[in-house]
Subunit: 404 residues, 2 copies
C-alpha cells in the first residue's frame, strides 16, 4: 500500500480522489500495490462535498499528514501561495515526495524548492502547474538533455484564450465572454491573475527556466494582459487577416534572452491561431529534435488531476529523471532591445492628440470612430511612455504586438 | 563509463554518434558518467563515411558486441527486418538493454520482443519508431495508465505528407513531388512502403496496441496508400474546401475497434490539414485528460537520433515505467462495419460505365474530363469490388475517404 496525503479538496483535489477511485484496479495492477489516500487536509470539515469520503480521512491539522510516517507522497492541491509554500517546504524537509499543481508556488520558489528536494532525496514534481493536462514539463526536461533550446512559446491560460476565442468567433463583448468563462468555471470570481497575464507569466517563468537551463525570474518577463480589448479591435484585427492570442514567449541568443507575455496579433492560418477556447499549447525548437508542439486541455478538473496522478505514478515507479532539472547558466535579459510593430487603438475622445500618434504610425487603420494605427517598429517602453504622456487612461486604449 | 554497442551506421546511427559527440560534456554532467560507443557493427568496413571514427570501433562481427560484457546497451539502427529481429532477440536474451528506431521489427514482433525483454529484465525501447523526433510513445504509455483511450489518429509518414503538401500547395504532379522527396532524402529509392501506406500501418499497429491495451495486428488494419492521386483530384478536393492527408486511425467502442490507413479528405481548417511537409502529428483522446496532440519532425537524421538517445538516457537514468506496457484486452476488429462517403475519381476512358457509378453517387463533381463523384456512405469492400467488377485498372482511379 502506498499512502498519500492530500492537501486541499477543491477542484483538483477532488478530481484526484475521483480518478484514483475509478481506476483503482488498473493502478493496482500497474503498481503491484494500492494507491491509498490516507488523509486529506481541508479548511472546513463540514462543507458539503460531491464525493463521499470516510470522516476519518479528513483533517484540519497538517501535522496529521506531516507526522504520519506511513505517508510517503504529498499532493499539494491548494490555490494559495504562501500557505502552499509552507506545506511543501515542511513536507520536503520531512523527506516526503511532493506533487503540486500550484504554478504560483513553483514560479516563486522554483530554485529553493528544487534544491530542497534534491538535498532531501525527494521528488518534487509539478507537471500540472503548466498546461494543465498536457504532458509538457517532463518531455521538455528530457529534450533539454540533448538539445539547445532557443525559443519556447505558448498559449498558457485557458480563461484568456476562451474569452478571445468567443470575442473573435461570435463578436461577444469582453465582459460578456468573461462572464460566460466564469459561469463555466474557467475563470475565477476574481480573474485578475488570468486576464492581466500573471498566470501566464508564472507558467512562462517555469517553462523558460527549464528550457534555457538558467534562471528566468518573474521580474524578467514583460507582462501585458488582455483587459481593455473591445469588439472594434477584433474587427480591425480580422481585417488584417489575423487573430489575437495571449502569447508567452522566451527567445535566446547566446546568453541573452527576451521574455514576454503580450496580446499578440498573428496570421489567421498560423499554428497558434487555431488553438481555441480553453485549450493550451506549447511549442519549442531544439537544435537536434527540431520543432515540437504540444496541445491539450489547459485546465479543468480531470485533465489537471490526471497530470497530478501521472507525477504520483512517476514517483512510485521511480520513472522520472532524478537530479536537479535546473541549469546554472547565467542569462542576461535584453527585453529593452525588443522593437516590434504594434497595433494601437485609442478611444475617439483623444482625437485632438492624433498628430503625435501619427508620427509613430506605419499604417493608419481608422480615424473615424476610434483611432487605430499600426506602429513602426518601436520598443514597448517608448510606446507606453507616449501613451502615458498623452494622458490616455488605461481603459481607453488597446495595444497588441504584431507578429508577421 | 556506460558502454554502448551500435548496430548500423546509416542515417540514424551516424546521427546518434554525432549528437553524443556534440553533447559529451552535458551528458556526462547529467549522467555522472560518460556515454561511450564502444563498438559499431557495419556491413562494409571500408565505406567512405562523413564522420571520423577510430578503426577499432568498427566491426563486421555482431558477436564482438554481443559477447562484450562491458556493453550494457545496444542501439539497433538498421533498416532491415529479419536481421534486426535477430540482433534484438540475441541482445535481449544476453541480458542487454535494447533501443531501436526500426518500426518494421517493432510492429512485426512487438509482443514477442516485449515479453522477452520483461523475462530478461531488460529495457526494450523504441520511441524513434513512431513519429521520429516527437516524444509520443512514452507520454502515450503514461496516459494509458490513467485513461481509457477510444481514439488515436495520426499523420505518420513524412514522405507521403511531403508529396501531398507539395501537390496541394504548388500543383506539382505526383511523380515530380516524389522525385523531390527522394532528392531531399525523405523518400527511399524504393518508396513502396511509404506511398502504399505500409510504413504508416506499422506505426499505427504500435500506437493502437499501446493505446487500446490489446493487440492490434498489421492484418487488422485496412491500408490504402496515396499512389494514383493526380492534380485533377487535388483540384476537386480544393473545390470542396478540403485537403487530403494520409491519415492513420484507430477507434474503439467497448471491445470492438476499427483500424485504417487511408487517404482522407478533411476540411481545410481542421487540425491535421495544417500538418504539412515532412512533419508528423499524433492526436488522441483520453477520458480523463481529454484531447492531446503532439507535433514534430516525423523523420530526419537528428530528430530520429535524438529520440534514440532519449531512450538511452531513460535506460541509464532508469527513468521509464518498467513492466509490460502491453495490455491483455481481447479486441474484435469490426472494419467491415465501416460505412463512409468516398471521393472517387475514375479516368475518362471508363465513361461508358457511368451509370453504374452514378447509382452509388451522392454528388457528382465532374463528368467532362474524368468522372468524379462523392459516394453515399458505403463500405470500402463494396466500392472496391464495384471498381474491380467494372474492370478499372489500379492506376486509373483514386479513392479518398471523406471526413466531414
Amino acid at each position: 500500500m502506498i499512502n498519500i496525503g492530500l492537501i486541499g479538496l477543491g477542484t483538483v483535489g477532488s478530481g484526484v480522489v475521483e480518478i484514483l477511485n475509478k481506476r483503482k484496479d488498473e493502478l493496482k495492477s500497474i503498481l503491484g500495490s494500492e494507491l491509498f489516500i490516507k488523509r486529506i487536509l481541508v479548511k472546513n470539515i463540514n462543507k458539503k462535498r460531491d464525493i463521499s469520503l470516510g470522516k476519518s480521512l479528513i483533517t484540519l491539522e497538517f501535522d496529521e499528514i506531516l507526522k504520519d510516517s506511513d505517508i510517503s507522497i504529498i499532493i499539494e492541491a491548494t490555490g494559495d501561495l504562501e500557505e502552499s509554500y509552507n506545506y511543501i517546504k515542511k513536507s520536503l524537509k520531512a523527506g516526503k515526495n511532493v506533487v503540486t499543481a500550484n504554478k504560483a508556488v513553483v514560479s516563486k520558489y522554483f530554485e529553493e524548492l528544487t534544491n530542497m528536494a534534491n538535498k532531501n532525496n525527494c521528488a518534487f514534481l509539478y507537471e500540472a502547474s503548466v498546461g494543465g493536462g498536457i504532458p509538457i514539463l517532463k518531455p521538455l526536461k528530457e529534450v533539454v538533455a540533448t538539445n539547445e533550446i532557443t525559443q519556447i512559446q505558448g498559449i498558457l491560460n485557458g480563461t484568456c484564450n476562451y474569452i478571445l476565442t468567443r470575442m473573435f468567433d461570435e463578436k461577444l463583448a469582453y465582459e460578456e465572454a468573461l462572464k460566460i468563462a466564469q459561469e463555466l468555471g474557467y475563470a475565477e470570481l476574481d480573474p485578475t491573475a488570468d486576464i492581466e497575464g500573471y498566470d501566464t507569466l508564472r507558467k512562462l517563468r517555469i517553462l523558460g527556466t527549464i528550457a534555457l537551463k538558467g534562471k528566468i525570474s518573474e521580474e524578467d518577463i514583460l507582462v501585458r494582459g488582455i483587459k481593455g480589448i473591445i469588439p472594434f479591435d477584433i474587427e480591425q484585427i480580422k481585417n488584417l487577416g489575423c487573430t489575437v492570442k495571449l502569447i508567452a514567449e522566451v527567445k535566446s541568443t547566446g546568453d541573452k534572452f527576451t521574455a514576454m507575455v503580450q496580446p499578440t496579433i498573428i496570421k489567421k492560418n498560423s499554428y497558434f491561431a487555431n488553438v481555441n477556447m480553453a485549450f493550451n499549447s506549447v511549442a519549442f525548437i531544439g537544435n537536434n529534435v527540431g520543432e515540437l508542439k504540444f496541445y491539450g486541455s489547459g485546465a479543468g478538473k480531470f485533465p489537471t488531476a490526471n497530470a497530478v496522478i501521472s507525477d504520483v505514478l512517476d514517483i512510485v515507479k521511480s520513472s522520472y529523471r532524478k537530479g536537479n532539472p535546473l541549469g546554472t547558466r547565467k542569462l542576461k535579459n535584453i527585453n529593452e532591445k525588443i522593437e516590434e510593430p504594434y497595433y494601437l487603438r485609442v478611444s475617439s475622445e483623444y482625437k485632438k492628440k492624433f498628430t503625435i500618434l501619427y508620427d509613430m504610425a506605419d499604417e493608419i487603420l481608422s480615424t473615424t470612430d476610434n483611432i487605430a494605427i499600426i506602429t513602426k517598429e518601436v520598443s514597448i517602453q517608448n510606446i507606453l511612455s507616449l501613451i502615458s504622456s498623452l494622458g490616455i487612461d488605461d481603459d481607453k486604449y488597446f495595444l497588441g504586438r504584431i507578429v508577421k
